[in-house]
Amino acid sequence: MIRLQHVYLLLGLLLAWAAVLGLRDRSNPRRWTTGLFWALLAFAFLAGDKVPTAAMGVLVLVLALLAGLGGVRGGAPRPPAPGSQLREAQRLGHRLLAPALLIPGLTLLGVLGLKHLRLGGVPLLEPASVTLVSLGLACAGATAVALRLTRVRPGVAVQEGRRLLDAIGWAALLPLLLATLGSVFSVCGVGEAVAALVRLGVPAHSPLAAVLAYGLGMVALTMIMGNAFAAFPVMTAGVGLPLLVRLHHADPAILGALGMLTGYCGTLLTPMAANFNIVPVVLLDLPDPNAVIKAQAPTALALLAVNLTFIYWLALP
C-alpha cells in the first residue's frame, strides 16, 4: 500500500536535497541558517512522527525563530540566457502545458480510478488519504514527463524547485504554523471565549440580532483562526444552535451550509489564511502583503451581505 507517509518521505528527501544545495550556495549571505531551516523541515517530514511530540514542539519554535529573524534567504539564481525562454517556448509550444496539466489530471485519475483498486486484498492507496497520496504520485509523474520533455538531468528539476522555494522562503512555513496556532487556540478554549463574548452582547429575543451575531461572529472567528472549519463548531454550538435553531426554529441544514459559507467570506479577508492570501503574494512578487486581500475585499463584503440576507430569509421559518 502506498501511504501518506511515503509521500512525506518524498517531500522530506526533496527538502533535504534543497537544504544541501542551500548550504553550498555561496551567493546567499545567510546560507548556514537557510540550510539549517530546510534541513530541520526535511527532518520533520522524514521522521516527524517518530520523535516525542515535545521535541517536535521545540523544532517548531526553532523553525519560527530562524524564519522570523531573517535567517531564511534565497541565493542569487543563475538567470536564464537572454531569449532562451522565448526560443524554448516556440520549440516546445503546447507540449509545455502537458506536465502542468498532468498534476491535476493524474491526481484525478488516482482519486477516481485507483481509490478502489486492491492488490492481494490490500488497497493500493491509503484509503484515508487518497487525494493527498494521489497528489504526491501525480507530482512525481509530472516531474518525470517534464524531465523527458526538456531533456535535462533530474538534478535540474530540484534546482528549479529550490529556486521557487527560495522565492517563497519563510512564507512556505506560514500555513503549517497557522494551522498549529489554530490547534493551540482549540486546546486553550479561545473559540469558546469568543462565542461567550458574542452571546453577552446579543438580545436573545430578536431574530435579526441573532442572525447578525452568528454571521458576523463566524466572520470574526474565521479571521482570527484563519479557517472556517475551526470557527464553525465553536460559533454554531455557542450561538447558532441555542439562539437560532432552538429559540427561533431555524432549519439546521440551511443554517449549517450558509454559516460555513459566511465563514468563507472571513477567510477571504484575513492574513491568517496564509496559503490562500499570503503565499500567492510572494509567488506573484507583489510588494503589498495585503494585495490579494484587498483584491478580494469587495467580493467578500458583498457576499457577506448576501449570506446574512439568505440566513434571515431562507433559514428562519
Partner: protein
C-alpha cells in the same frame, strides 16, 4: 456567572497587534501560540506537546512544495512565454473575460470535487496571471506597474473565490461532512445532500458578484492605461 476563561484571548491580541505593527508573521504566530498556551495555564512541556503534535498532523499543508520542481522546470523552459503568446493570438481574449472563464471553470470543477485542478503554485503563477497580463497589454498597451500588480492580485483572488464557493456544493467535501457530523453529535440527523444543496444560492451569488467585478475590470483597465505614463 462562570463562563469560559477569557485569558487565552490574549493570544488574539498578540496576533492583531503583531499584524498591525507589521512584524514578521512567522514570529507573530509563534508568539501568539506561546502566549495563548501560557495564558491557558498549560505547562511548558504541555505547550510544546500541543505545538509538536499539531505541526505533525498538519504537515499535509506543505505538499504543494512537491509541485515546485515541475513548475520551476517548465518556467525555465518558457511556460509563461508560451501562455502569453497563445493569449495574444486569441482576439476575443480580454483580461476580464479570461478571468471570468477561469472563475467559471474553477467553480464547476470544485463543485465536482476536483479542487486540485487549480491553485496558486500550479495555475495562477505560471499560467493565469501571465495570461491575464498579456491579454490586458494586447488590448490596452503597456500597463503601469501598480495596475499590473492589481491585475495579478485579482488573478489570485479569482482562484480563491472559485475554489471556496464551489467546493461547498460537493457532498463528499470536508465542510459538508463537518457540518453533518457536528449536528449529528447534537442529536440532529441531516442528509449531506440537503446541506450541499443549500450551498448553491451562495455559489451563484459569488459568481455573479465576482463575475460582475471581472467584467468591469476591462473598462477600468482602459481608463488606467490611458491615464498611465
Amino acid at each position: 456567572m462562570t463562563g469560559p476563561a477569557l485569558w487565552p484571548l490574549l493570544g488574539i491580541a498578540v496576533v492583531v497587534l503583531g499584524f498591525a505593527v507589521r512584524a514578521n508573521p512567522v514570529l507573530v504566530v509563534a508568539a501568539a501560540a506561546v502566549v495563548t498556551g501560557l495564558a491557558a495555564r498549560l505547562s511548558l512541556v504541555q505547550l510544546l506537546q500541543v505545538l509538536g503534535a499539531a505541526f505533525v498532523k498538519n504537515r499535509f499543508l506543505m505538499l504543494f512544495v512537491l509541485t515546485l520542481p515541475v513548475i520551476g522546470l517548465l518556467e525555465r523552459h518558457g511556460l509563461r512565454e508560451h501562455a502569453q503568446a497563445w493569449v495574444r493570438r486569441l482576439r476575443a481574449a480580454t483580461a476580464g473575460r479570461l478571468l471570468l472563464l477561469y472563475l467559471l471553470l474553477r467553480q464547476v470543477a470544485s463543485s465536482l470535487g476536483l479542487t486540485s485542478l487549480g491553485g496558486h503554485p500550479q495555475t495562477v503563477r505560471p499560467l493565469l496571471a501571465p495570461m491575464a497580463e498579456a491579454a490586458a497589454e494586447q488590448t490596452h498597451g503597456p500597463l503601469p506597474e501598480p495596475v499590473r500588480q492589481r491585475l495579478r492580485a485579482l488573478a489570485a483572488a479569482t482562484d480563491n473565490v472559485g475554489l471556496f464557493f464551489g467546493e461547498d456544493i460537493f457532498i463528499a467535501f470536508g465542510a459538508v461532512l463537518l457540518i453533518q457530523s457536528f449536528f449529528r453529535d447534537q442529536g440532529l440527523v441531516l442528509e449531506p445532500l440537503a446541506i450541499a444543496l443549500w450551498g448553491i444560492p451562495t455559489a451563484l451569488a459569488a459568481f455573479l458578484i465576482h463575475g460582475a467585478r471581472l467584467l468591469r475590470l476591462d473598462r477600468t483597465l482602459a481608463r488606467d492605461a490611458r491615464s498611465g505614463p
